[in-house]
């Protein structure tokens, strides 16, 4: 494979209280990958994200972006290229109009005004919220705020986008919208890391899954490999995706032939069943 876009090696981090939150995390991330980061609460996912973006400074370890090791001088480059969509939109939205909010990142990049305006327009169009341009954030609903926070990062044109539990606090319709956005961003070749507790979502969306447990990565592989590994699931307190259970039950009961083409959505399963019986 080619050179990783983001290379993290032996990262250690502990918060002020002395409790280590990350204990030697190493991972290579390649351009265009769709990665689900899973693990229980307090397993170090968010700390890892903040370190990857350079907000938290690791006690020990190294981060390199596209082959350049990140130090104090080029930290800005890292922040520009790795965007985080935070879990709680109210903790991210800072400005008092949607336009100013989405323009905040590009303004910090010291871009000319015309370019900032162009990017804001583009990001708002992508998220389908151009109408909200002049609205203040406190008159938006939860789902709309989430869209604004995603537009924030799109406007920065980050290569790598990190979503910290994006589906938490979203209703099914907005969660659906979010998945559509993820597909759109995937088509643009963005590298995405998403932390989630929704194993069904991780199973159908991700190409790669990283499992965190107590500040360490305990598994890294395709979602299928990980969800089939009972030991890892037990260690990280994870559930199995429903579609995987269903598929295996169907195979066990000889209702369909095993062909290693695991369905991840009900639609996939339908296609598979139709092939079997017609």
């Amino acid at each position: 494979m080619s050179e990783p876009i983001l290379k993290i090696s032996d990262l250690h981090y502990s918060y002020g209280t002395g409790n280590p939150a990350l204990k030697g995390v190493s991972v290579d991330i390649y351009q265009g990958e769709k990665i689900a980061v899973i693990g229980s609460n307090g397993s170090g996912k968010s700390t890892f994200f903040l370190n990857a973006n350079g907000v938290l400074k690791a006690d020990h370890g190294e981060i390199s972006y596209q082959g350049t090791i990140i130090n104090k001088k080029n930290l800005k480059e890292l922040r520009k290229n790795i965007g985080i969509v935070f879990q709680d939109a109210d903790n991210q939205i800072i400005a008092s109009t949607v336009m100013a909010e989405v323009g905040f990142g590009p303004m910090n990049l010291k871009l000319p005004r015309e370019e900032v305006l162009r990017r804001v327009e583009e990001a708002l169009t992508t998220m389908n919220i151009l109408d909200f341009k002049d609205r203040p954030p406190h008159y938006l609903s939860g789902g709309e705020k989430k869209r604004v926070t995603i537009a924030d990062i799109i406007a920065m044109k980050s290569e790598v986008i990190i979503f910290d539990e994006p589906t938490a606090a979203l209703d099914p319709l907005n969660a659906q919208m979010l998945e559509e956005v993820l597909v759109k961003l995937g088509e643009e070749g963005k590298t995405m890391l998403i932390s989630t507790h929704d194993v069904d979502f991780a199973y159908r969306w991700a190409e790669r899954a990283i499992v965190f447990d107590q500040g360490k990565i305990i598994a890294d592989g395709t979602p299928l490999e990980i969800f089939k590994n009972a030991r890892i699931l037990a260690q990280a307190n994870l559930k199995r995706p429903a579609m995987l259970d269903v598929y295996e039950m169907l195979v066990d009961n000889k209702m369909i032939k095993e062909n290693n083409n695991y369905p991840t959505t009900p639609e996939d399963l339908k296609v598979l069943l139709e092939k079997q019986f017609h």
Binding site: L50, R79, N91, S96, L117, D134, P137, Y139, S141
Partner: protein
């Protein structure tokens, strides 16, 4: 706060429909004059819904400030009347704010004005004095036509000045007013603080409402003693929460490349020459009126 939240939900939808609904909501909530809790955020809401919001904010701020200065400087009841009528016209007719809502906002400072002006119009004395007096047992309250007239003129002046300021606040969202102040070279630190405080008010109000509701649902405001205790707990909890929020904010800002200077993208609204001409004409009219009726 409850009613403004209710209104805000209708504000989410865009276009004409939302505007209609917003006005409909205002009508429901403001069938009576007088103010209630949460009026502060209602003003914010009216500013966003105003039809003259699209006017250049610098124009509005400068215009209302000059009007205020003229109203006080000319010190003339006719000028005050003209200002009151002119500003009401701008806010209600041009801005599309329902009259009842406008009056309800104007009523907020009424108590202070009355308290302040009564002290000027009425005086105490141990001897009967003045044109009218009232014996209260320990002394006399007295006043005169001249004094009452002075009081009425002062009230008119204060109302004129206030309505000029209210015209500005009811048509210009805070973010735009802050933008004007920034252009007027108010120190950066103050501008940044204003921006952050404005955003924070709504976040803390939300937090406070959630805490209060959850305390209320557990009988936290059952009697006076419990209420006091709950109030204290909520207040101290607010402090902890706002510290945490401040940290989370800082993190999120840093993640988007914040480097110690808050710069926001501002919408630029064009000056309209016709507005400028009308504003100058209005000022001249006030001055002439002031001189003629001197």
């Amino acid at each position: 706060m409850e009613n403004s939240l209710g209104k805000s939900s209708s504000f989410i939808r865009s276009g004409e429909k939302a505007e209609h609904e917003a006005i409909h909501h205002q009508k429901i909530h403001h069938h009576r004059i007088g103010h209630k809790h949460g009026e502060g955020s209602a003003i914010d809401f009216y500013a966003y819904a105003s039809k003259i919001r699209c006017w250049n904010p610098t124009f509005k701020v400068v215009f209302s400030f000059l009007t205020l200065l003229l109203c006080i400087g000319l010190n003339n009841p006719f000028v005050s009347m003209a200002v009151i009528i002119g500003m009401a016209f701008l806010t209600v007719v041009k801005g599309g704010l329902p009259l009842s809502a406008y009056l309800s906002v104007l009523m907020i400072p009424l108590t202070f004005i009355l308290m302040g002006t009564i002290a000027i119009g009425v005086d105490f004395s141990s001897q009967p004095a003045g044109q009218f007096n009232l014996f209260l047992g320990f002394g006399y309250v007295f006043t005169s036509v001249g004094k009452l007239q002075e009081m009425a003129f002062l009230m008119l002046k204060v109302f004129g000045a206030i309505s000029a300021m209210i015209m500005m606040t009811l048509s210009t969202p805070s973010a735009e007013i802050i933008g004007v102040l920034r252009k007027a070279h108010v120190p950066k630190l103050i501008i940044e603080l204003m921006n952050l405080i404005y955003r924070y008010i709504f976040i803390l109000l939300d937090v406070f409402n959630n805490m209060r509701n959850s305390a209320d649902s557990r009988q936290g405001y059952g009697d006076f003693k419990t209420s006091c205790y709950t109030f204290g707990s909520v207040a101290s909890n607010m402090l902890v929460v706002s510290m945490k929020k401040a940290n989370a904010y800082y993190t999120a800002m840093e993640a988007r490349g914040y480097e110690g200077e808050l710069v926001f993208l501002e919408d630029e609204k064009k000056h309209q020459v016709s507005h400028l001409i009308i504003a100058v004409a209005f000022m001249l009219f006030l001055m002439l009126l002031g001189i003629m009726t001197h």
